[in-house]
């Protein structure tokens, strides 16, 4: 289905769908509300009664589109779907971000904005959790300064001693590459391309189980040549989510 829709988008051709087998479940609550759209703001216009069978057509976030045996369609929230039975007579287990997933979360993706040595900066980052305390992160930053633009790529390890808390602080240690290009009108200014080390501290705050606000402070030491190091400080705040 997904591949077909991607192809449909790319080729801009109408999609002719064949017969698709859907999962069937039986309602066990006195009734289930069927909303017109996948969200609590959409009105509930129909119900399915206990004992009726429904087909699950698709899922968007925590909402399931179902079709009853007499052809009515609507969206049902996950909490109501949880009390349905499958054809084998067992309770349907809907995969969601449960506590286990939260504790086993691995991949996190996000972006952040802030200041690098007083200039505005933008970062995109992705991190992988090796265990409860150690996280590896790749970070791409773009700094748009008044006189020059810089790009930084860095790899770092984070130690998060309280990673199961809603407020999870961490230490950051890494290395990377720093590239600086002066803006065109500045004559005699040279490009800088150098290795950089980075240390920092940060805080993750979980707004929901998969949605995170992050704040970072980082200190970059750029090793420009054997005699010269330059230090830059970066402040960042941003959003991340994990899969």
């Amino acid at each position: 289905m997904k591949v077909i829709r991607l192809a449909c988008l790319l080729l801009l051709i109408p999609l002719a769908m064949g017969a698709v087998a859907y999962q069937r479940v039986q309602v066990q609550d006195p009734y289930m509300d069927m909303h017109t759209g996948p969200g609590r703001g959409f009105p509930a216009v129909q119900i399915v009664e206990r004992g009726e069978w429904v087909e699950i057509l698709m899922r968007k976030t925590d909402w399931f589109k179902v079709r009853t045996e007499n052809g009515k369609e609507g969206w049902v929230v996950r909490s109501q779907m949880e009390k349905t039975l499958t054809g084998a007579g067992v309770r349907k287990n809907f995969r969601d971000v449960l506590m286990d997933d939260y504790l086993n979360r691995r991949l996190e993706v996000g972006f952040a904005a802030g200041r690098f040595d007083g200039d505005p900066s933008l970062s995109v980052r992705s991190s992988y959790r090796f265990n409860n305390f150690i996280v590896g992160e790749i970070n791409l930053s773009q700094v748009s300064g008044a006189f020059s633009s810089s790009r930084i790529v860095d790899l770092s390890l984070q130690i998060a001693p309280y990673s199961d808390n809603r407020f999870s602080p961490y230490f950051n240690l890494g290395f990377g590459h720093f590239k600086n290009e002066p803006k065109a009108p500045l004559v005699n200014a040279l490009d800088t391309s150098a290795t950089t080390a980075v240390v920092g501290v940060g805080l993750r705050v979980y707004l929901t189980r998969r949605f995170i606000v992050r704040a970072d402070f980082k200190n970059y030491v750029v090793m420009i040549d054997t005699d010269r190091n330059e230090e830059f400080q970066q402040w960042l705040t941003g959003f991340s989510f994990f899969f």
Binding site: L9, W63, T86, F111, R210
Partner: protein, 226 residues
Amino acid sequence: MLNKGICKILVLLFLTSFLATGCSLHPGRGNDQKSQEVPPEEAPGQVIDPAVERRDISVPKIDTENWEIGLYAGVLSVDDFGSRAIYGARAAYHVSEDFFMEGAYAVSTVVDTSFRTIGLPIFPNEEEDLKFYSFSLGYNFLPGEVFVGTKWAMTSSMYFIFGVGNTEFIGEDELTYSVGFGLRVLPRDYLTLRIEAKDNIFESDLLGTNEYKHNMEFNLGFSVFF
């Protein structure tokens, strides 16, 4: 006599009753009879053999549609440098029914025609390329429905979008903040049409003084959920 006769009868009765039961003399026989009565296939303790067939049900996977990719086109007005067409692509991940995160990349052009007409060209060429990318957080508010005629209702949602990104033209990178709102309409569950208005803000000193530039963008687009 009578007593003798009774005694004989009693002895006979005793012997016949003893022989008739036969249990003590032939201990194995009773077990043989029992095993003949009970069919050999039924194990002790199993009273009913349920004639129910286990249903082996293969469960089709539920189609989860949280990713959205699409194309858009519109008009970007770059402060001081004209309004030109902008073309872009975007991908969004819907974290919950309220929030989504989006990455976008777009191309446009800037012109310094008005400066050239008064003899003060700013750019090397009159028309220069502009590249824009951004990462945004969107919040769905005012979910609802749009009615077309009397028979067709499409779900819709207004959203706010806040982003950070980069605008690049004539070799300069400008960190850009975007603030906007839009309307998303879904004619099908997997197809989205969008109208969006945004203000892309960056700081620039191209014309001598450093100031915030407000660059209005209006675009129309479609995207597909998968």
